[in-house]
């Protein structure tokens, strides 16, 4: 079970990431509980998987998050993959999940997830972090509270600063 940060606490999560290769070779993997399936596989098998509340999905940074519209509410976890430091597409995916798709469940960052990105991820609506292997999970908790305010509206602070300043 991976150790993750969720809602600013360190927990063990039963959800585990299944790669596209794994599930292509053995589609039986998807029968197991708590699997996070690749979006492509999930969309392909959505009829068979409909109603499964013990499954999650993960998206590559190039996947179109809007393809999950109407399907996402049954999922307890949607994971967003960060292939490397510097690929910022998943930040937009997270915001769209929380706003356009109105997703309320866990959004988990997976892949190359590093301490100094967590605060920005949190602001985009990501509330769970499965850190890269070399990261210190306890020290990383501090990163979430680096800034007291933010100028922009974001998922965690839906009112922009200017509306507080000027009323």
């Amino acid at each position: 079970m991976p150790t993750i940060i969720r809602d600013s606490a360190i927990i063990e999560s039963p959800f585990w990431v299944v790669s596209l290769d794994e599930v292509t070779e053995n589609s039986g993997v998807s029968d197991q509980p708590n699997a996070l399936l690749p979006q492509a596989f999930f969309l392909q098998h959505q009829t068979a998987l409909a109603g499964r509340k013990d499954l999650g999905v993960w998206l590559a940074s190039s996947d179109d998050v809007e393809a999950l519209a109407g399907l996402v509410h049954q999922l307890p976890v949607v994971a967003l993959h960060f292939p490397m430091f510097g690929d910022g597409r998943a930040y937009s995916s997270a915001v769209i999940l929380r706003t356009r798709l109105q997703y309320q469940g866990e959004i988990r960052a997976i892949g190359d997830v590093r301490r100094d990105e967590l605060e920005q991820m949190q602001r985009c609506g990501i509330n769970a972090f499965q850190l890269a292997e070399d990261q210190d999970i306890h020290a990383s908790l501090q990163a979430l509270s680096a800034f007291s305010f933010s100028y922009q509206a974001s998922i965690d602070r839906p009112t922009p600063l200017f509306r507080q300043r000027s009323g």
Partner: protein, 548 residues
């Protein structure tokens, strides 16, 4: 100018502490170099050929005398007594020590300055017209809008890891002094049916693939500025190319989609954001505008005797007045430009002493404020006309009275191979050689407006594509060569320069420039500027002369 409140100050202070901890972790071996690189770049710190280089943000070019003195102090204590004004209205230090940068940033924060997002693939410092608020051709002061964009883009969590760097420029005047057509986003204040709003341009740029930005929205109501920018950024963040850094700028995406399709995508995205929380309120617009009110102007007349008498007495003052002084919105006032381009000094370089002198002069003559221009000069925006002569005399004493604003020797130039690890070739010695070749001031004034822009590599920090004459350093089998182009302009009728032909060795450049100038002198009609003659006769006569 804008003054921080407790919110702004807290954010900048917290960033200093965050960066201090990141530096500590790097030095302690807890943070790998490649990871620290991403973090330091988002705070303006490059590792250069000789030492780190720190880029400090000067939002839309505005600086107070207090800030200038701090920049001077920093140049003495953390650098070698110099600062460098860049082509994006910023300031660079070329010799700070990596371990001292957190302290340097704390010094900056103490005068409401920072280095946030001055490099890296994020939204950079927003630039504007150096004459904003005083220009005679102004529709509306662009600075409040640039400040609103600065705040919105600072630490924007969704757009800190874009495909590539992202630059926004705002202008509120009829003449484009902010080069909005060669920015990732150009915001132009325009008037339509008596209402002032924005025209939005997207996808301009220089670099390897120079492009003049197309307009993607003809008119945007003011309150929608931030939500509309948000829509553009989101389309770019999601669909901009990330496989090839040379194809990652938004101009490539706009071109691949076509401007029409790109505009439709933005419009679709905007429908989700329009009228949302980021929609600007009148209260906020007025709050930010309240920082850019008119200073305490005296009631004066234009052309006072003190000015006209001095013009009658001193030809040198007259030459400076003609080139470096511009008209002002307020009767009896003038805009004064200090050309930081004395021969044998690197264009844009200012010593600590010069910075302090400028601070003093700003306090005495211009309400304690200056502006940094994208031509790497410094502007005193609010000088009484009856004080111009005494100001000029003081500028002469400290070597800041070069009367060459906009002339051939007012060269825009990047730091080049002397300092920059990206450069293919040196640029500063080329600028100096040209300045030496053209040292006759009467001749220069007769030539009139002529921009020479020099970049040491394809990254085009010297904006060579929009120089009337552009010079680009190229590497030919390990030797430094220079490609010359002609016909570019960054004005409202922006045009990209055309390459003249095969490149030249460095010592040939002054003669090449001389030949181009000679063609102009032979062929010009009446009051034509260099660029007008070029537009009329085309490139061939210049080619014939240079490659004869």
């Amino acid at each position: 100018m804008y003054m921080y409140d407790n919110y702004d100050q807290t954010l900048v202070d917290e960033r200093v502490e965050q960066y201090r901890d990141q530096t500590r972790r790097f030095l302690a071996g807890e943070l790998p170099a490649e990871e620290f690189q991403h973090l330091r770049l988002r705070n303006g710190l490059y590792i250069q050929r000789l030492a780190p280089m720190l880029r400090v943000a000067v939002p839309y070019g505005m600086l107070s005398a207090v800030q200038l003195r701090k920049l001077a102090y920093i140049s003495r204590h953390f650098d070698r007594g110099y600062a460098h004004f860049t082509t994006r209205q910023n300031v660079q230090y070329n010799w700070p020590k990596l371990e001292e940068v957190p302290d340097l940033l704390a010094e900056l924060a103490s005068v409401q300055m920072h280095a946030i997002q001055t490099s890296g693939n994020c939204i950079r410092n927003t630039t504007s017209d150096q004459y904003a608020g005083v220009a005679t051709d102004e529709i509306e002061d662009a600075r409040p809008w640039a400040e609103l964009i600065r705040q919105w883009s600072t630490f924007h969590p969704e757009y800190n890891w874009l495909p590539r760097k992202f630059k926004i420029a705002v202008t509120g005047a009829r003449e484009d002094r902010a080069a909005v057509q060669v920015h990732d986003i150009g915001v132009r204040l325009i008037e339509r049916d008596g209402v002032v709003g924005f025209q939005i341009l997207v996808g301009g740029g220089l670099g390897r693939t120079p492009v003049i930005a197309p307009v993607i929205r003809e008119f945007l109501d003011k309150q929608h500025l931030l939500t509309y920018l948000e829509a553009i950024l989101r389309v770019y963040n999601r669909y901009g190319r990330r496989d090839n850094k040379y194809k990652a700028r938004i101009k490539i995406l706009v071109r691949a989609m076509t401007a029409e399709v790109f505009a439709e995508r933005v419009e679709e995205e905007w429908q989700h954001l329009k009228d949302g929380a980021e929609t600007l309120t009148d209260a906020e617009i007025n709050r930010v505008k309240s920082f850019f009110t008119l200073p305490d102007y005296q009631s004066l007349h234009d052309k006072p005797a003190a000015l006209t008498d001095a013009l009658g007495l001193s030809l040198a003052f007259g030459a400076w007045h003609k080139r470096n002084v511009k008209g002002h919105q307020q009767l009896g006032y003038a805009i004064v430009n200090l050309a930081m381009k004395a021969t044998a000094e690197a264009p844009g370089d200012a010593s600590a002493e010069q910075l302090e002198t400028i601070a003093e002069l700003a306090e005495e003559y211009s309400f304690g404020e200056v502006r940094v221009t994208h031509e790497q000069n410094v502007t005193l925006a609010d000088v009484r006309q009856d004080a111009l002569f005494t100001l000029w005399q003081k500028l002469c004493e400290v070597g800041l009275a070069s009367p060459n604003l906009g002339l051939l020797t007012d060269i825009i130039c990047c730091p080049g191979g002397d300092y920059c690890s990206l450069a293919n070739a040196k640029s500063l010695p080329v600028a100096e050689a040209i300045q030496r070749q053209f040292d006759d001031l009467d001749y220069l004034h007769d030539l009139g407006d002529l921009d020479i822009n020099i970049s040491g590599c394809m990254n085009a920090c010297g904006h060579h594509h929009v120089g009337n004459i552009g010079i680009l350093g190229v590497d030919k089998k390990g030797a430094e060569f220079y490609q010359v182009s002609i016909g570019g302009t960054a004005s409202s009728t922006a045009a990209l320069a055309q390459i003249l032909g095969p490149s030249f060795a460095r010592d040939a450049i002054p003669n090449v420039i001389q030949k181009l100038v000679n063609v102009y002198l032979e062929r010009r009609e009446a009051e034509e500027h260099f660029i007008d003659t070029f537009s009329r006769i085309g490139i061939q006569p210049y080619k014939d002369s240079v490659y004869a």
